[in-house]
Symmetry: C2
Subunit: 715 residues, 2 copies
């Protein structure tokens, strides 16, 4: 079957030229209207996606990958259909697959967000006709569901219909990413198409100028119950104060960027950071990827053809190129030029919408409303600016990070989380083909910094550094287990161990002064925060810098993010906030330091309380710690020790154990050892108490331990 | 200070020549009489022990070790006093030490039972006067306690006064072992003493003859509440039927043994087993250790001097020499000569007491009643025999083992347990210096087979092999943990896992035939026994021969012994009996085999039930197991799978996991994997059920896990 004959039958082309509906209002209260809206939203998207592939000029264009490390386009043609089936299975709107084989082929390839985890398996791709027949079945299935499946309104996160909206939005993302792949394909493999006509306006570029943006605050994020579909990364909240800055009125045009190219910017490593130089050398890049040098001068590759360079269109580059341009401009203009942060983009957005009535949307080259290409950078004014939304995506300095309260959606738990790695930068504003969720203010897409989309940039002048927010998820097994142990859920109804110990310790203080407490072996730091509810100041000390980092992160950001092993390689994503534990007010009274309990620095002294929780059986020389700790505690102060006495050679050489062996022919327990080393300077108060704790290893496997707590009063 | 002047003051020598009282009746109901009896028992023992050291002729005799690998006698002089203090502290009859330094020096050296764990530290021994002063303080302390401490009768195991009786009996053991060390000391270091005069009767030895002992039963062991003090190894019960045998009427005399020496028995390795040859070559032994070759012919070393060889006294040898003599005698007489077993010695004892009235005791060279040496082997008739008790200890073929119901005494948990190693053989009957507990029928002392005591032997003629009873304590960490997991205590109130699973499985069988069940991955075997309560036959299969051995041991002996890690190196000794779990009747219906669940032998088939508990995530190829297991189950039969899905590369290569990963971009759980592999031949019944289990690692540390149980019906 010939691709051309396949790609142009009947009804689909008609829809392809009508405007695309916006992502629907999920707070709709009338089921019939909701079904109608979703039917139109689904059909227009499914049609327009198929229409896009009509720009392919030959069968080979479907099967030859446009760029290495990516599947061929036949994969993407099937993939968006299979995605519906997979997500509908997960929400139980359907019980069976349509075609298990094809659905295995189309389930996963290059992730639709663009990170390059393609494996090098050789695929035996199905024919175009087979895939078309499969798409037709999926189309029929989804339409039948939309028309007939039980529907409870509104459609929220946990509504099974969320899978339908997700499937449509997912296909809209691929509409754009596939258009980029087609733009990267061989020229011979593409052909013009009436529904995909580029803009014909172009001319010399207007000079770019700076616009002042006053300081202001931004409040980002959305509620779970929000009326408009969003991807997981849009939920939660983020607020910031943004200092004043200046921003370029227009996107950087091809003309403006040419100066950098002609100045040899691609050959000067000083303008590029390490990762950028790596890309530049690998790619042997000398100019923007869609520029073509020809006998007639510079040309620009569009989706289905090449045109003489439209100098007044936005330049399309990756992050590295955009950043290098800014460094070059800084170097020659004497001003701190850089890309905007995500927060700054929202300030631009707010400024550009000043005076615009609610519900009104300034016109923009967005949502396929005008052309299948960019257009001049001075065509769509938005307030003092042009193209704050639309025309081309705009790179930011901000690696994507989770808002406070971020959580993954249960049927798509790896949409965003793998990109919280500091290596995926946010793009904002949308391009000419961005539609659906891509075209809304709240959207947050991020790509590897060397990837190409229909993306360019706008620069800002600011003396404020562009700080990268914390996006880190603790994935180390021990660190994650301790984060959950200290801040996570209860298991087997066992109360939080650190909190229980801190409360015992605080109760034991009785009438004693509660100025300074030392949490020795503080690990993830929970007991330090708990003690700070009663003490004026708490020092948390641990041998491990990795643990200290968790405490420091909590002090700095109020939260800790980590993955929890569930089963095999499957994980859950967790975020724990001090505020949710009622500990937000303690932050100013806690400091964390790396330190060695067996060789404590002099400044750690003058304490009313020292807590040593699950510490002594992890020390290389517990006797030294016990023999010297009295020097750090005020007379009448307390030492609280808790330990399961799990002596292991890997932590403590056998000869350094203080108990757990026969001595002089009798059992010498660790409690005996504590007395042996502490009685000279301490008096034990009360009986030993068992304090249980549970450490979660997987969803089904736990360590369940009894720590023996003893309290010692400094003589 | 001179040892001689120290050793002969006042009152002690007087007591030393009066007969020693027997170990007292602890069922005494009158406190005053009890105090008096203990006072006499203590004083006579303490005096006699001090008197023994008066045979030392020089200070050097106290400080030079009589044999390598043993402490000098000064240690033993202090040790028996320190023992009182240590045990009184443990039962809280006292709260403070008398002399922490000396008590550290004297606490432990060569164990009093004789196994050679002496470390090579250099000791700075205290002076004799210091030790004497210390002994005087201990004497005063114990006497004060006996006179004044609160006393509740009777004195049982858990009575604090048990420590006093234990201390006395302990010193009586050292009275004997020290006498052996003195006998091994240089001749110049010893001197005769009026209280320690050897027997002067000797002459040519009478010919030894055989006495028939008819078949009979023996019932050994004693109850915890027994009236007479016993060491831990005497408690519990042991019953046996002993076939008829013949036994030598007398102990083997020096004369009878001479024939073996002169026949070159010490030079012929064929008479000695491997361990015996090792000793023989190390020691360069050519004759019994106390024999001396002199110009006037053979002499015999006694405790304080040498005498012309008394040919009619019992030869004193170690086990190896006694056994070699028997092998030599077998080789030359054509009859199966060997040492008696412990059971056979009790048959001798019963025969020798035939016709003796209750409460009467035949006279014997025992309890220091006659001399400080052996005497002729035909002096003390006991029934048809001589010296069934007394004169010299008699080696047996039986390595010491615990009776059923054995438990350690809480204040002396390593009196016997370290000797349950198959390397310590029982000696019976007592020697001339055996007194107190040593002189009672129930006593059970065991020494390494190469050690010397005042011990010889009697031989028996029997065609029955001398089987070594199981004395093995499982000490391997994993094996012990599983033994406790399957047969031990509940922790955190979690019901026994194997029992719970078996009950679930039996309930699920409903009306199905219950002929044959397969417990795959049976580990220690508990579920096999539980299933055998409902099935006609159960096969337990495990990959590990070590686990299979536990099941086999339970089938063969009805019990399993193991150590449980408590804290560090400290352990508890446990024995678990099928009878105590109500499972004794299942033994005939259970078989254990080593086998591979991924490659099951053909005979394991035709099952109504297959239980795979905590198995699938430990297999190297779980898919193969799941894909083939239907072949082993009858139509309508059940497969019960329980697993926490703890996939680990160390057990199952990553590519062999059946779940716990992303597949086609979606979570693929192990439950999904089970369906994938089982649905072709099985139908799942009911919902998955969590069955919890706890594995104890130490007294304070546990694994607490939720195993997911699913039940599958074979189509």
């Amino acid at each position: 079957m010939n691709a051309s004959t396949l790609a142009e039958p009947g009804h689909r082309t008609d829809n392809a030229t009508t405007p695309l509906p916006r992502t629907p209002d999920l707070h709709e209260t009338d089921p019939a209207r909701m079904r109608r809206a979703l039917r139109e939203y689904f059909t227009s998207t499914f049609d327009r996606y198929e229409s896009l592939f009509q720009t392919l000029a030959a069968d080979a264009a479907w099967y030859e990958p446009p760029i290495t490390l990516r599947h061929p386009l036949i994969f993407y043609y099937g993939h968006t259909a299979t995605f519906f089936v997979n997500k509908l299975l997960l929400t139980r709107m359907i019980e069976e697959r349509i075609d298990p084989h094809l659905e295995s082929v189309f389930a996963v390839g290059v992730d639709e967000m663009g990170w390059d985890d393609l494996n090098d398996a050789h695929y035996d791709w199905p024919s175009i006709a087979e895939v078309q027949a499969y798409r037709d079945k999926v189309r029929a299935l989804v339409l039948r569901l939309i028309d007939e499946a039980p529907l409870t309104l509104p459609i929220g996160w946990d509504n099974p219909w969320w899978a339908i909206v997700m499937g449509i939005e997912h296909e809209r993302i691929h509409l754009e990413t596939s258009s980029v792949l087609i733009r990267q394909h061989k020229l011979a493999y593409v052909k013009p198409h009436p529904a995909w006509q580029p803009c014909t306006h172009s001319g010399e570029a207007p000079e770019n100028t700076l616009v002042k943006v006053p300081a202001g605050s931004v409040a980002l994020g959305r509620e779970i119950g929000s009326a408009i579909y969003g991807w997981d990364n849009e939920y939660g909240r983020h607020e910031a104060e943004v200092p004043a800055f200046e921003a370029s009125r227009q996107l950087v045009s091809n003309r403006e960027f040419l100066a950098f190219v002609e100045a040899g910017g691609y050959a000067q490593s000083g303008y590029w950071e390490e990762e950028g130089n790596g890309w530049r050398e690998f790619a042997k890049a000398e100019h923007p990827t869609f520029w073509r040098r020809s006998a007639e001068g510079w040309q620009l590759r569009l989706m289905t053809g090449e045109v003489a360079m439209p100098w007044d269109w936005p330049v399309e580059v990756n992050y590295h190129e955009a950043r290098a341009f800014c460094r070059w401009k800084s170097a020659h203009g004497g001003q701190p030029v850089r890309l905007p942060t995500e927060d700054e983009w929202y300030r631009l957005y707010a400024e550009s919408r000043r005076g615009v009535a609610d519900g009104e949307t300034p016109d923009a080259n967005l949502n396929l409303a005008h052309w299948a290409s960019s257009c001049p950078v001075n065509r769509y004014p938005q307030g003092e600016f042009f193209d704050v939304t639309g025309n081309a995506w705009q790179w930011t300095e901000t690696p994507i990070y989770p808002f406070e309260g971020f959580q993954v959606h249960p049927i798509y738990d790896d949409f965003t989380t793998p990109t919280f790695d500091g290596r995926h930068n946010l793009i904002k504003g949308g391009s000419w083909i961005a539609c659906g969720n891509e075209a809304v203010r709240a959207s947050r897409y991020a790509f590897r910094r060397h990837f190409f989309q229909h993306a360019g940039f706008r620069y800002v002048i600011s003396h404020a550094p562009a700080e990268a927010p914390a996006a880190y998820y603790e994935t180390d097994k021990l660190m994650s287990e301790y984060a959950e142990f200290h801040y996570g859920d209860r298991y087997f109804d066992v109360p939080n161990f650190s909190q229980a110990l801190a409360r015992h310790a605080i109760a034991a203080m009785d009438g004693r002064p509660r100025r300074r407490a030392l949490d020795l072996g503080c690990a993830s730091g929970r007991a330090s925060f708990e003690l700070a509810q009663a003490f004026e100041h708490v020092t948390g000390v641990d041998f491990s810098a990795r643990f200290i980092n968790q405490g420091v992160q909590l002090v700095q950001t109020g939260q800790l993010r980590y993955t929890l092993a569930d089963e095999g390689e499957l994980v859950s994503y967790k975020a724990r906030r001090l505020a949710d534990l009622g500990l937000q007010d303690t932050v100013g009274r806690v400091d964390f330091y790396q330190g060695d309990a067996c060789n404590l620095k002099p400044q750690f002294t003058d304490y009313d309380l020292v807590l040593a929780a699950n510490l002594i059986d992890r020390l290389y020389d517990p006797a030294r710690f016990l023999d010297l700790i009295h020097e750090r505690i005020v007379s009448g102060g307390l030492l609280v020790i808790a330990s399961p006495y799990t002596w292991l050679e890997e932590h403590t050489p056998r000869q350094a154990w203080i108990g757990g062996f026969k001595k002089d022919a009798e059992n010498h327990t660790t409690l005996d050892g504590l007395h042996e080393h502490l009685d000279a300077h301490f008096r034990r108060i009360g009986d030993p108490v068992n304090v249980p704790f549970v450490i979660r290893e997987t969803r089904r496997k736990f360590q369940h331990t009894l720590s023996e707590m003893t309290i010692w009063e400094r003589r």
